[in-house]
């Protein structure tokens, strides 16, 4: 088992490395010469050459890549093209905002969806199950921005309860902060929970088809007890897997939601960077997102390995 876990983590590192190559190559394929963009049309050939030499842009791509990777690993993310501020200073607060949002979403949606998923699995075929199944199906089939748009229409425009733009700052009172966070949080919780409820339900129903559950049924154990004592503990592994996968899914949800509500998070920063073609900024943000995603996926896989008794106790 240890070997499998270590193997999985090593593969994760390899994936991260491939990701860094991909991110570097793609952002380098951007049209336009960086030196020309930064120094403008009036730059002399000498100043262009000097700029390239200073930044190492005249070196072969492979040297540039290792230079970039080395800086990245030592925490030097480079300087933004717009304004010349260091990227670490730009990212700091944004990253914190995004983490806070993702953290709250996870805290709300995980217990909520495991509970609802359990309920749906406990009473399959009843109206609770049917409405949950259909409701979540509808929610996962529509884009996040549809749900967000709808929420804005109801809560901000029609009812006027919540602001449609999530402006958060340190000076805000506690109440104001929650008010501006409410809408993006709600949208993300709905999107993530819908997925998780479906997967939890499927996971438990899957276990319910196994022989030892049939045995318990034949013994005459009550349904509630079967689910809570027999099925639930055996689905913990798959459920942890589901949770990790969905937190990874949050990564893409965040991109859309932050854009819609103009929330000052990392994803918004990245999209802005994309629009102004701020190469180092986009590279840094993309690496943070991809690394988070890869780490969560590894966690999901490790959880799946740990939860499987056959892998845990090899013969």
């Amino acid at each position: 088992m240890q070997r499998m876990v270590i193997q999985r983590i090593l593969i994760g590192f390899v994936t991260l490395w491939v990701v860094s190559v991909l991110v570097f190559l793609m952002t380098n394929a951007l049209p336009g010469d960086v030196a020309q963009i930064v120094l403008g049309q009036s730059a002399t050939p000498e100043s262009l050459a000097a700029y390239r030499a200073e930044r190492g842009l005249d070196q072969p791509l492979i040297f540039q890549y290792f230079g970039w990777l080395g800086n990245m690993l030592t925490g030097d993310l480079g300087t933004s093209k717009a304004g010349g501020a260091t990227i670490s200073s730009l990212i700091g607060e944004r990253l914190y905002n995004t983490m806070v949002m993702a953290g709250i979403v996870a805290l709300i949606s995980v217990p909520l969806s495991v509970g609802l998923g359990l309920m749906a699995a406990m009473y399959p075929g009843t109206w609770i199950d049917k409405s949950l199944t259909f409701g979540t199906l509808a929610l996962i089939s529509v884009p996040e921005f549809f749900i967000a748009t709808f929420m804005v229409l109801i809560f901000a425009v029609q009812l006027g309860w919540l602001p449609s733009i999530a402006r958060v700052s340190a000076e805000q009172s506690y109440y104001d902060w929650w008010r501006s966070m409410a809408m993006p949080l709600l949208v993300l919780v709905i999107v993530v929970a819908a997925q998780m409820i479906r997967m939890t339900r499927a996971g438990i129903l899957n276990v319910m088809n196994s022989p030892y559950i049939e045995m318990a049924i034949l013994k005459g154990v009550r349904r509630k007890r079967i689910i809570l004592r027999h099925a639930f503990f055996n689905t913990i592994g798959p459920i942890v897997n589901v949770i990790a996968l969905n937190l990874a899914y949050l990564v893409s949800g965040v991109v859309i939601v932050e854009t819609i509500f103009a929330y000052p998070g990392l994803a918004k920063l990245m999209i802005d960077g994309v629009q102004t073609r701020d190469l180092p900024l986009v590279q840094a943000c993309a690496m943070i997102f991809c690394a988070t995603y890869v780490v969560l996926i590894i966690l999901a896989d490790v959880a799946a390995i740990l939860a499987n008794p056959r892998l845990r106790n090899p013969k």
Binding site: T15, F145, A156, V157, S164, M199
Partner: protein, 313 residues
């Protein structure tokens, strides 16, 4: 054991007994759709037809600027005669016409991208399952790297690097989703390759192509077709999300994702029912994707929970 043999030809029982071990072929199952599945089929067919004929039945051109006022409510009269059945958008264009034109972009591009993803994914997946060894190893590692990136992030990077045009969008979506198709095709391919009927085909000396086209593909067809529906939903969501972020289909082409984004501010500035401007294209996307899911649900219920499980992750 066949009843016909037993009853009508009792006297030849001795000769026929060697066939008793052979089962009759199971009757062909016809797919029975529930009422929700039927609604799904109707909606999907409707949008596909619109994708083909949309531009001809739309009352106006997608880029035609018709009034002086933006965000007119549904049913408003146009100055030069005619009606905005669904209202007008920010640039005074007819929303109904743009939704009809947009079907071609959103549905058309998604279907082409998914087909391409299938072509690549199934070819590579079956190749990996049949060839095994190094081919499988290399293809699977590349595939893992693609799968381990958040799709929207990968899409953003590619589109930013190469610029946004329709061929690039199709290619991007196809490559990203081919990786999940590959995984499924490979899994089914491996499962089928160890079946008795494949072994007997190999024993008969059939060529590898014969086995792929006559044994592997037909047996993997049904599960793959169901997965196709699901993958199509993801591609629609992916393309409309990119368009929503302003990186997908570019104006003046109408597509549902960018229409939602473009009309978002109607919620603050429009008067009366004009605020519904972003809702119409959003409803178009939602109806299409929910309808596909309704069909997929029916089909996967028919072929057992096994399939549904595989597709959840």
């Amino acid at each position: 054991m066949s009843d016909v043999t037993q009853g009508a030809e009792a006297e030849t029982d001795q000769d026929m007994s060697i066939y008793d071990e052979l089962h009759d072929a199971p009757p062909k199952k016809r797919l029975k759709l529930s009422w929700t599945g039927k609604i799904g089929v109707v909606i999907v067919v409707f949008w596909i037809v619109i994708a083909v004929i949309g531009p001809w039945i739309a009352p106006y051109d997608q880029a035609a600027i018709l009034d002086m006022d933006s965000y007119l409510p549904p049913g408003a009269e146009i100055d030069g005669g005619g009606t905005h059945w669904l209202g007008s958008d920010k640039n005074e264009r007819d929303i109904l016409s743009r939704v009809l034109w947009g079907a071609r972009m959103t549905v058309g591009i998604s279907v082409i991208a998914t087909l391409l993803a299938y072509l690549m994914g199934v070819t590579a997946g079956i190749a990996a399952a049949v060839k095994r060894g190094w081919t499988d190893m290399i293809l699977s590692r590349i595939n893992d790297a693609i799968l381990s990136l958040p799709t929207i992030m990968l899409g953003l990077l590619i589109v930013v690097a190469l610029g946004s045009s329709i061929p690039i969008l199709i290619g991007t979506a196809a490559i990203i989703y081919a990786s999940s198709v590959y995984r499924i095709a490979r899994a089914y391919g491996q499962e089928i390759m160890v079946m008795d009927y494949v072994e007997s085909a190999q024993a008969r000396g059939e060529t590898i192509w014969w086995i792929i086209f006559r044994e592997v593909l037909p047996n993997a067809a049904m599960p793959l077709a169901t997965d196709f529906g699901l993958r199509l939903v993801f591609v629609v969501l992916f393309i409309s999300s990119l368009s929503f972020l302003g990186l997908g289909i570019q104006p003046p082409n109408a597509d549902w994702g960018s229409m939602v984004r473009g009309n978002l501010e109607a919620m603050q500035f429009a008067e009366g029912w004009g605020i519904l401007a972003p809702i119409w294209p959003a409803l178009a996307i939602a109806s299409f994707t929910i309808a596909i899911n309704l069909i997929v649900d029916d089909v996967s219920a028919e072929s057992g929970g096994d399939l549904a499980k595989k597709m959840i992750s």
